[in-house]
Symmetry: C2
Subunit: 426 residues, 2 copies
């Protein structure tokens, strides 16, 4: 692709954009181009009103009665089902609860428990070295816990890190319990082929867990189509659920009745209010839960979800790819020799919905951009990351962002500002 | 104690109550006597405004920048320190995060890990049969997980349930890893002697974990004074944090550097944004955390906490005991022969801040009470539970509640209404 385009030409395209109307569904500050919706999505119109309703009416007036009368009990499964329609899930397979880290722990524990029966001796968890760190840490934590009491055979649980797809495929073997991958990489935006990788895992007798943190609401996902085993993910990025909104967990229906988790809190019990002294898991998706959820934060998520559900998912993907293509091409044309190195795959099939560039002074460059209202973020090492969210960004936003990036780099403004900041600190 | 009192005499006492002014710090619906603040505390004045500020200003305008500019990163530890002052904790020992169930899992895992070094062979977790069920289930879940891989020696982890203090003391022995108790029982309101029981556990080489769900903000707690090892608890009951507000965990400073949890998410890492591939826990209370917290629900908690912190804790305890005494005495005087059996201890030292009565038709009786604006709750089996919260209840509230209870029982109204409800369903 070569654009050789102009801001005017992009404006003309924006005017014909069938998704343009969604821009007004979000509150965005003046003079900001928000390229960090993959870290925290913006405030949807109506979310503040929802929070006020939950706090003033449901909590303030309804008090404890609102667990029933305002449907608080059903929020995790009801919102899970809504979210599931974006992920190729059937009703009853998804719940919104806890955090991504915790849900991953549940999925890992459940998968290992299944392998203790189906594949004893399978004790290797394969994940990416470049996975989001919490995904690695949680696997290490679970393996560490199990190894603390496996004293007999020397067959310890192991977290094996791979760097490439070839390494992943070569690592799959008779000792593999599961693979745990992020569908879209948080730093590079690189996307795995979920159906192919899942099939390879199954071929080797392993289970496949997918973290959809940077995928849900950003790229087409079909969990049942891909025959995935477990998925977890985040709702405060592309789903615009609000800061720290609860995460989700999906379990393939074939595993549901075998799903077992050590975080066996009362919300996952078959009869939470029977006050039995023995744990017995619910026979539906409630068994993926643990304790009481933060209702105000949880309820607001629905507003963001509803916006995503209104949009045509094919149009979203097409516009996302158009915008990321545009970003890449504009940087190539307008920022040559300015030290930016693309780290996001150019193949559409391998790209999520953000674009990233290395720059040796990435941190200072991003600080200068944010100072000018272009809000992206910085990820170690040296990576400038730009979330490209087709619901509320336009082609001219991308043009303007790249222009400001060019200016910051071309004029060396980032360098002077870094000098000023350092002097201010010392 | 015998009251033989009158509503007028109680009104006179209410007028002199130094805590009476706190009633106006809460939004409470008209025509409701709220006796379920031990399940969900009411809305403090200012909490709705706090939520609106977080949503509109911090999320809507600040966007991702608010993690730094609005102090979101520090909320769990900053609110933890505030809360800690109510619990006899020092700064840096408490964090507000996740749910009580999850925090208990962390405490159990950490205590067992310490015992693997300090007391190998100690594999028994002692808890109460009448503990809140999630406390039992979480211990069962962890034991189950560990036992799934301990194949060699037959020394399995075991959750042992006791019914009485004598049984507890007799059960302590060389195989005890830890005791896990609720300071105040959720159903009966019975309170353990934390210093004495902790000392007995230590004497036996065991660690002591305390669940303060029905204690924090309700009764005097001095964790360091009692030399407890771990504590967890809930903020949406007596601390009035809002529905599902995040819970807390406290760890005795002597264990902090050894604290290890398998829920080792990135928020507990020494450098969460360094994106290291190996887990290394933070050297402060952040190591008790796991993933990203629900900011709106978390931020609102501060409003409730601030109200509790303003009140004199000795006055609160004195009024709580006065009100529970009054409730018990009024029931004795005014409801004889109506089928109510007190299950809450009469000794002050053994009583929390709620009173409970068994009634063979407890569920229907509570439904009739709620219908009349007296909101308590029902707990299996047959228990009517009344939370007595001195911050916003008066002596006349207790009088009126008992009068309505008497009328419901005396007239058999509960029975007619139950008949109507059943006919309505079929």
């Amino acid at each position: 692709m070569s654009t050789q385009t102009s801001r005017e030409a992009l404006q003309a395209l924006d005017r014909q954009d069938p998704l343009a109307r969604f821009r007004d569904r979000f509150v965005l500050p003046e003079a900001v181009i928000y390229l960090d919706g993959n870290s925290l999505g913006p405030l949807p119109v109506g979310a503040a009103e929802r929070a006020a309703e939950v706090v003033n009416e449901q909590w303030g007036q309804g008090l404890i009665r609102s667990w029933n009368t305002a449907g608080w009990f059903e929020l995790p499964t009801r919102l899970g089902d809504k979210l599931g329609t974006l992920l190729g899930a059937n009703p009853g397979e998804t719940v919104v609860t806890d955090t991504t880290s915790l849900n991953l722990f549940k999925a890992l524990a459940s998968a290992l428990r299944i392998q203790q029966v189906d594949g004893p001796g399978r004790r290797v968890i394969i994940t990416e070295r470049d996975n989001f760190p919490t995904d690695i840490y949680i696997a290490q934590g679970l393996a560490d816990l199990l190894n603390s009491v496996t004293t007999e055979t020397g067959v310890d649980y192991e977290v094996r890190l791979i760097d490439t797809q070839d390494e992943l495929l070569a690592a799959l073997g008779p000792d593999t319990a599961l693979i745990s991958l992020s569908h879209v990489n948080y730093r590079t935006g690189r996307m795995w082929d979920m159906p192919a990788i899942t099939a390879a895992a199954h071929e080797a007798g392993a289970l496949a867990i997918w973290d959809l943190a940077h995928a849900a609401g950003a790229v087409p996902v079909d969990l049942n189509g891909a025959d995935a085993d477990y998925a977890v993910g985040c709702t405060y990025k592309y789903l615009n659920g609000g800061p720290g909104a609860p995460a989700f967990i999906w379990v393939n229906a074939r595993h549901q009745r075998r799903f077992w988790q050590p975080l066996s809190g009362w919300w996952s019990h078959a009869q939470p209010f029977a006050m039995d002294e023995d744990y017995a898991p619910a026979d539906d998706a409630r068994r993926f839960m643990c304790g009481t959820q933060p209702i105000t934060s949880l309820a607001m998520l629905e507003v963001g979800l509803d916006v995503s559900l209104e949009a045509d998912q094919h149009q979203l993907r097409a516009k996302s790819l158009e915008l990321t293509d545009l970003f890449i091409e504009l940087v190539r044309e307008r920022c040559p020799g300015l030290g930016l190195e693309l780290v996001t795959p150019q193949q559409h099939a391998e790209r999520g919905s953000h674009v990233s560039f290395r720059h040796p002074h990435g941190y200072a460059v991003m600080a200068a951009l944010i100072e000018r209202g272009v809000i992206g973020d910085y990820r170690e090492p040296e990576v400038l990351r730009f979330g490209v969210t087709p619901l509320y960004l336009s082609r001219t936003d991308i043009w303007d962002a790249v222009e400001i990036l060019r200016e910051v780099l071309h004029t060396g403004a980032w360098q002077r500002e870094e000098f000023t900041r350092r002097n201010a600190v010392t």
